[in-house]
Point group: C2
Chain length 390, copies 2
């Protein structure tokens, strides 16, 4: 954890100046070298872009912010306090991050607004402000046979309930063919779509070229974008079996990785309870002689920003001033657990200013960041710091 505080350059005023907490992470995903056109671990400049693992996720945005603060500080124009909170395990589940922040909460003092810059525009041309993220619940379902070993399917096949057949029956009943999650009550507290939201998504769909297929009509595009960003979903990622995975073996046990992405106003614990209750009921109905266990792993809450706050308006102005156009209000289907966490710990709203373009390829080969986005990004942050200090 790297923490750095810059106090307002208005001598004697820092105690009444606003305080902004910037959260970012310096760790990165692995890189499959063979798939890269540039060396992933040396930054390469080409065609107006910087290429390298981590340039967009999240080192570039961190540096743009550091340079913005340093520039204002040098010119004695930093009218607010800025606290950097940079971690190195975001890509690995932020192990220890939450406990450390809670333990040293007092060190940070009062925080007025939280800033992060860790996602992307909806396309490559249009500046955006991200106001929502889905939460996530990772689970593991395991079915184990009373047999103490994998067995031969010729010798034993037909004589007992096979764990893999139980598990496919169970996970096969989680999602309907129209992709509705079948867990009873799962959708009960999903916030209904407002007319404004419907209009916003219809507008966004026109920009979302990399997010929705071009051949769909506007209505279908908006629906697909909503399915990714504002509705919950359930994915079965993988089913692992014990033993050699050969076509003569009945595996003794198997494990399904299942995750749910949750949205406002679903409650993490309520969803977990409903999930467990439903899985157990479906399994009981199989009357199997095997044993099923459910493990709930990592979980992160959804986040919905306050789009009418003065900070959100300040971010809008900061972006418009630099890019000469109003930012689109977008959401993301992924999860950044630190955001709802920091909002709750510091009782402050978070503002999420995406710096990179849709084609940045975070986590993928040839991750990049446009130089223009880095330079303008710094100026957007400078504008924002100025705006919130007024």
């Amino acid at each position: 954890l790297v923490v750095a505080k810059f106090m307002s350059t208005d001598i004697g005023e820092s105690f009444k100046a606003k305080t902004l907490l910037f959260y970012g992470h310096y760790d990165v995903q692995p890189a499959a070298k063979k798939k890269w056109s540039y060396p992933p671990w040396d930054m390469t400049g080409a065609d107006g872009y910087l290429y390298g693992r981590g340039v967009s996720d999240n080192k570039g945005p961190i540096l743009a912010t550091v340079f913005a603060v340093a520039s204002l500080y040098r010119n004695r124009q930093l009218h607010c306090n800025v606290c950097f909170l940079i971690e190195g395990e975001e890509e690995a589940g932020s192990v220890g991050f939450y406990a450390a922040v809670e333990q040293y909460r007092d060190y940070f003092g009062h925080v007025d607004v939280i800033l992060i810059s860790n996602s992307y525009w909806i396309d490559d041309e249009t500046p955006c402000l991200t106001y929502g993220l889905r939460g996530v619940i990772h689970t593991e379902i395991e079915v184990v046979s009373p047999a103490n070993a994998d067995v031969h399917s010729g010798v034993m096949g037909g004589a007992f309930a096979e764990p893999l057949q139980d598990i496919v029956k169970v996970v096969g009943q989680l999602v309907a063919r129209d992709r509705q999650v079948l867990i009873p009550g799962f959708n009960d507290s999903v916030r209904p779509t407002s007319r404004e939201e419907q209009e916003l998504f219809t507008e966004l769909a026109a920009y979302a070229k990399t997010h929705v297929p071009g051949e769909l009509d506007d209505m279908a595009k908006a629906q697909m974008l909503m399915a990714k960003w504002r509705f919950p979903t359930l994915t079965v990622h993988n089913i692992e079996v014990s033993g050699p995975s050969s076509n003569t073996v009945i595996p003794r046990s198997c494990k399904a990785l299942v995750s749910m992405r949750i949205v406002p106003d679903q409650d993490l614990n309520d969803v977990i309870n409903k999930f467990q209750r439903y899985i157990k009921r479906v399994f009981v109905e199989l009357q199997s002689t095997n044993t099923l266990t459910i493990t709930v792993g990592h979980r992160a809450n959804w986040w919905l920003g306050n789009t009418v706050s003065k900070y959100f308006k300040a971010a809008e102005r900061a972006i418009e001033q630099e890019w000469k156009m109003k930012p689109l209000h977008i959401r993301e289907g992924g999860s950044i657990p630190a955001i709802p966490f920091l909002e709750s710990v510091f009782k402050a709203d978070a503002i999420h200013i995406p710096m990179g373009q849709a084609s940045d390829c975070a986590h993928l080969p040839n991750e990049r960041l446009r130089l223009q986005n880095l330079i303008s990004g710094q100026r957007v942050i400078e504008n924002f710091l100025y705006e919130i200090s007024r």
Copy 2:
């Protein structure tokens, strides 16, 4: 392929002597060294047993037969012709075996009876004669998304049909919770159980300690043994996914390994057709945007020996003479594709004399063969060669 012919020692009589074809294999399964108490690749004698990979499956029985023939030959008591046909790829699907035997079919000449010794008694005490095997059909079901890559489940989850969710829905509809195969017509040509068979299995259940749990009643034991030996079954062995199997990835494609064990009087091609038709219908009902393909791999027919032939009676007498008890008539749930194949090529019945005990651990750590079974096995084969020559 090792082929060796021994002609009857009755000078001038070999052309009218009976000819027996012995089929065996000298190749073996791999050995997980760490799980062995004895070195798998050096034969060790201990407690009246020989330990080592392949001693029971199938080198011991081959050598007992070689020694039986050599002994009779040396003493000029070989009153029939014996042809050895020993292959080295049985554990790897007998690649090329079938084509080679068909190509050189004339070389073998007329065959009266086929002998193999490649399975095990029902327990450790009671000599047996194996009169049936199940067939097998290996298949692969693949579901592929129109997306050209694995995608992030946060970013894309909810927007399209996930191949793994399709495949679990499909394979989840193959077997009912009472283990009946759900493919329409699958069971139509399964031969009904006769009263004799019911009685036989009830008798066998008392011996089948390693095959059925002791706590079941006799009826349930017999049923379980029938489920393993005389009824068909379907196993889902494994579901593989493309990509890194991580809990944030929606795999672009997935593949289920599915096999069916078939029995008299199911027809291989008929079962394959019904399987394909049903899978396709279930998939169409999902109305998925993904693509499903079915590949049928290795297949082997079931085998049901002729238990009223003179050769079967001869084998019974040969065993009884040595072990002083009538052999039990048993079946096996596994498949030995060479048996129905050789029967069909040579238009002769096969006799299957298991030499080892139920606890031999073929394919498993500490494979062994009791010395007594090897020695008595040689004498049983000698008796059998004598009996069929009368």
